[in-house]
Subunit: 355 residues, 2 copies
DNA sequence: ATTAGCACTCTATCGCTGAGAGTGCTAATA
DNA sequence: TATTAGCACTCTCAGCGATAGAGTGCTAAT
């Protein structure tokens, strides 16, 4: 009989009756706060749910059977499974309200007046870390994805030129290249002019492909300077396409009891050291909109478990530029972190828009 | 009698007879390898010193009295004090021989052909971390100390200019500044020309001071463009003078048993997060020559203990540019690390020379 | 001066025990 | 029929004592 009802509920409201939802949410909430397995008695004492411990026990047993909770051992309280966390977070994401509170990123931006996008992003990751109390992450816009607005060449010293790529969204990349001969300032100007006329508005990746594919056409280029231009462009664009990632407040993560075990700390920091992997993990979110939460084994990067990511994308106009967010323990204060990440992503996008 | 002799030795060879030196060195050596307090019996077994445990015990008791060794508790072996480590390291520094072995930084440099000094330094800190198995550090040349070779201005977009400072030693710094009006390329050229003629060869700090002190003379400047030049220079140089520091392989330090305690790990990483402090610690070594070792409480930065620094300076010609080295546990393999740091500093200096 | 012998000290480890928290089941209740 | 009180059971964790092991310092012998 009981089983029939459960099945019915499963069809009606994704397995869970409103009351069970309530209990599940409360359990997760309590565990996030206290970091201790929550038992039926404690729950009734702390939350006043209008139910006796015995009833809670029954419900919890059901929730365990459905895979939302587990017991670390018989005769211990329950802790959420990943499925449990996901359910909890889904609820939060729906009512993702941001109460204009302390963290004021706009003020930070105003104060710093950062014209350099990279500094801006670095500062943003610091902001995330400080206000989430976890580790802040910002993935810089992918170089090869960026849309070229202009290219400039500046002679630096004998046989060395600085190539400056200016993207549509104000991002700058510069590169020193060595050349065989010295080019005059005005020659460089002409070269830049030529390249801009050809490539402005294209993504660096496309430009690169174009440049590579027309290698054999070089000889046909009537003008020596243009030949030189193509060569310069090729050289200066020969850059590893890896994204940069800013990671701030790594040690924040150590304040959580989960990571009070030396072995786990080591894992985490080994993973943080490998920025390359971090980039890959983050890049998976580049196409999603709004705040995303990736819990536990979803991001089993280098064997780090018990970690979650809360990320969002930042953009300029329609174009998504990169990812930002925080990384923290799976048992994380999502209800505080999600709004912070959401707010930060929006403010950053807004600020980038204004540039 | 014993006391008299000891005093005599103290005068003759800094407290320690050759035999005692030998034993002390062996104890430190053994402790560094094994990470366990070394007892008299173990020592004779592992090293064959031609003495019985009992004799070793006597000597060790003397060394303890002199402050070179301590016992964690009665009936445990001895471990070196800071004084003990210092004695050991002093011996190493004298015979600081570098055997051309595996680590080949020249090859790294050749392969990467890094024209950007910052990338070069970043790569160097990675090298240090990999070959020392501890945490690599490189302090970038101090901005305000750098000698200006040239300044360039490049228009980036409406009302935004990039100021590029090129130092005598090939270091580049660039800064985006916002201006009230748009300046043409040729105007910017003239401005740069003017500033270069006035300031080339001076340190940025001096230039800054000069610019500030002559504020009231602005009106006397006959030429509008020159007035503009001074303004631009002032704005673009308004930069915090903080040094940058590259820190790589932080997690390496966690492999040492000393830091297998969660509490200590936390301390370390909190300290690493505060790069500002790291800069200050490192800058103390800017005027010293050759490899320096700073042990334990000498660098009580933010309460981190049990850590040592092995650093050296890198330079270009006569001018010291910055500091590099490694940070690791006080119980560190100095005999391996010191040569690595020495080698790295020399190779980096050599490479910078060639640029 | 060096060493063998011996009593002593301190730590780390293991197994044990009891308190505490929590569960599941059953029977009673509204 | 859903909920609850009662009870026996389970598991963890902190504290305790005993033991083995490593090392010391002292004394007497070489």
């Amino acid at each position: 009989m009981l089983i029939r009802i459960r099945l019915l509920e499963g069809v009606l409201s994704l397995e869970l009756s409103p009351r069970n939802c309530e209990i599940l949410r409360t359990v997760v909430h309590s565990y996030i706060k206290k970091a201790y397995p929550v038992g039926s008695r404690t729950l009734t004492k702390d939350f006043d749910l209008g139910l006796s411990p015995a009833s809670i026990r029954n419900i919890m047993a059901d929730l365990e059977e459905m895979g939302y909770l587990v017991q670390p051992h018989t005769s211990a309280g329950r802790i959420p499974t990943e499925k449990g966390y996901k359910f909890y977070v889904d609820g939060l994401l729906k009512e993702n309200q941001w109460e204009a509170g302390d963290p004021n990123l706009e003020e930070v931006y105003q104060r710093l007046r950062l014209e350099d996008v990279r500094e801006l992003l670095h500062e943003t990751s610091r902001f995330l870390s400080v206000f989430s109390h976890y580790t802040g992450l910002v993935l810089c816009p992918n170089f090869s994805r960026m849309i070229l607005n202009q290219i400039r060449f500046v002679p630096i010293r004998k046989r060395h030129i600085m190539a400056i790529y200016i993207s549509d969204d104000g991002m700058l990349y510069n590169r020193i290249i060595e050349t065989d001969d010295d080019l005059s300032w005005s020659e460089l100007d002409k070269i830049a002019l030529y390249l801009n006329s050809r490539f402005s508005g294209m993504s660096l990746q496309d430009i690169k492909n174009r440049l590579m594919s027309e290698i054999e056409e070089d000889k046909k280029l009537y003008n020596r300077l243009m030949l030189r231009a193509v060569q310069l462009a090729r050289e200066s664009m020969d850059i590893p396409g890896e994204g940069e990632v800013y990671l701030e407040g790594a040690s924040n993560i150590l304040d959580t009891p989960e990571f009070a075990i030396a072995e786990k700390m080591k894992m985490i920091f080994k993973a943080f050291d490998e920025k390359y992997n971090m980039v890959q993990i983050l890049e998976r979110f580049i196409d999603s909109a709004g705040v995303k939460v990736s819990i536990g084994s979803d991001n089993s990067f280098l064997g780090i478990e018990d970690c979650s990511l809360v990320v969002s994308t930042y953009k300029r106009g329609n174009q998504t530029l990169g990812i930002l967010g925080i990384i923290g323990p799976t048992r994380m204060e999502y209800s505080k972190v999600i709004p912070v990440v959401d707010y930060t992503a929006k403010m950053l996008s807004k600020y980038l828009e204004e540039i």
